[in-house]
């Protein structure tokens, strides 16, 4: 039977159920390892009022940046934003809210959300604006703040290869936030470069076990490079 065949054939199908005002967790670091197809589909759907949890917000005209064009994003939860003019403009106009979150705390919030842990303590951000209003607690003579985990209505993830069971592997630093995002969506959509035959992926080396994944789609990717730095051979 088809119980474990998670492959869908179109992004329409992959994002079925996405509605206004939902929270989306997105993988990617800068423009590396971003779910290009799902982002394009969200733009196409025109869904608005979105809260997007992602380390960055793309650039003008690419990545999550394209969701700003029609003001689909209500709030970004990110560690670093503002690589694009439109973001800055909407932020200053009060049309866009941003919750700046330290990068490691952001990664851990996603992981904890997927792992059923509602909160954790970290020294990161203690004594800074990030710690304001958060519970402070001492362990072994050091001060820590409590951070709550994040769960999304959807998670949109970019993998390298997957099988129809939803087992996924990532390639190089395109891994980044993707594995945690994959665990933290009520519905997790993974787009990959290649869908491989069952059994082809080594069970010992699967980055995201299929249990976290609801829908798999094979896509094509531009993979734009933000800072092309080279040396002469």
């Amino acid at each position: 039977m088809s119980g474990f065949n998670k492959v869908v054939d179109s992004y329409d199908e992959a994002l079925v159920g996405l509605k206004d005002n939902m929270t989306i967790i997105a993988g990617g670091f800068g423009l590396c390892g971003i779910p290009e197809g799902s982002i394009a589909q969200i733009k196409k759907m025109g869904t608005t009022g979105l809260t997007i949890v992602s380390n960055n917000c793309g650039v003008d005209g690419f990545g999550l940046g394209i969701l700003l064009e029609d003001k689909q994003v209500k709030k970004m939860v990110s560690s670093y934003v503002g690589e694009n003019a439109l973001f800055e403009q909407q932020l200053l106009a009060g049309e866009l809210e941003v919750e700046l979150t330290p990068q490691g705390t952001l990664a851990e919030k996603m992981r904890a959300g997927g792992a059923g842990l509602p909160a954790f303590y970290t020294a990161t951000g203690y004594g800074t604006p990030v710690g304001e209003g958060k519970e402070v607690r001492e362990f072994n003579g050091r001060q820590y703040i409590m951070e709550e985990s994040i769960v999304g209505d959807f998670a949109v993830v970019k993998g390298w290869k997957a099988d129809r069971y939803g087992n996924v592997i990532y390639r190089n630093t395109a891994q980044n936030f993707n594995p945690m995002a994959a665990t933290a969506g009520k519905i997790t959509v993974v787009e990959v470069e290649e869908i491989v035959e069952p059994g082809e992926l080594d069970p010992n080396h699967i980055h995201t076990p299929g249990i976290y994944v609801d829908r798999i789609i094979q896509g094509t990717f531009e993979k734009r490079i933000e800072q092309r730095t080279v040396r002469t051979a």
């Binding site: 590396c32 990664a107 990161t124 004594g127 800074t128 604006p129 190089n172 630093t173 945690m180």
Partner: protein, 218 residues
């Protein structure tokens, strides 16, 4: 003479030890990779999920899936490992990185650091800086000693919003190498040709000056 950017990086590189895992921030810290002492092996960690970062790729090697935390294309060295952001910050937060080098706007006598936010300017975010300063025992801040207008950046108390509280013990500026402890700055070395008087003048926080302040050699 105040240190050049390259000299700042060279001075920092003397804190490296064989077998160190090192995270270098964006800017001057990145240059430290160019001055690893001969015969010494260090591994660079990039917080987007790479341990064992190598040099920039050749045109042929460029890979959109292989970048560093500055979003630059990079390569890996032998012995590298690649992992998720959660694993990367587990390393950082858990104190497994031996040395972290990063820039700052201000530091103060209590080891506070401000490096990410200037109120009323556009705030882009802290990225991984707060995790790095909270996680590392051994941090070196590289920065200018004073602003272009001569305002000290080594303060009694940081004026800008903090990146981390009580976490900085070593500062290399264009004028001096300073340690932080017991609520004071401790002058340890001065840049070649820079007078102790100039350093004293440009240090707003309490500075302990020993009888002899050795000059850095390059």
């Amino acid at each position: 003479m105040a240190l050049t950017r390259e000299q700042l990086a060279m001075r920092v590189s003397r804190e490296l030890q064989d077998g160190y895992y090192v995270n270098l921030g964006i800017g001057i810290p990145t240059l430290v990779a160019n001055y690893v002492p001969e015969g010494m092996d260090v591994m660079f960690q990039s917080e987007n999920g790479l341990l064992g970062m190598g040099q920039f790729p050749t045109e042929d090697e460029v890979d959109a899936d292989m970048i560093n935390a500055g979003k630059q294309t990079v390569t890996t060295v032998t012995g590298a490992s690649i992992f998720s952001s959660a694993e990367s910050f587990a390393m950082i937060r858990g104190g497994h990185v031996d040395l972290t080098v990063l820039g700052a706007f201000e530091v103060d006598v209590n080891g506070n650091i401000a490096s990410w936010m200037i109120p009323k300017k556009l705030i882009k975010g802290m990225g991984g800086a707060m995790d790095l300063v909270a996680g590392a025992d051994n941090i070196i801040v590289t920065m200018m000693h004073a602003s272009k207008h001569g305002d000290s950046k080594l303060l009694p108390e940081c004026s800008l919003p903090l990146t981390g509280a009580g976490c900085i013990k070593k500062v290399v500026t264009d004028l001096a190498y300073v340690e932080i402890g017991e609520g004071k700055f401790w002058l340890k070395e001065r840049a070649p040709g820079v007078s102790v008087d100039e350093i004293v003048e440009k240090t707003a926080g309490e500075l302990v000056v020993p009888d002899v302040v050795p000059e850095m050699e390059f």
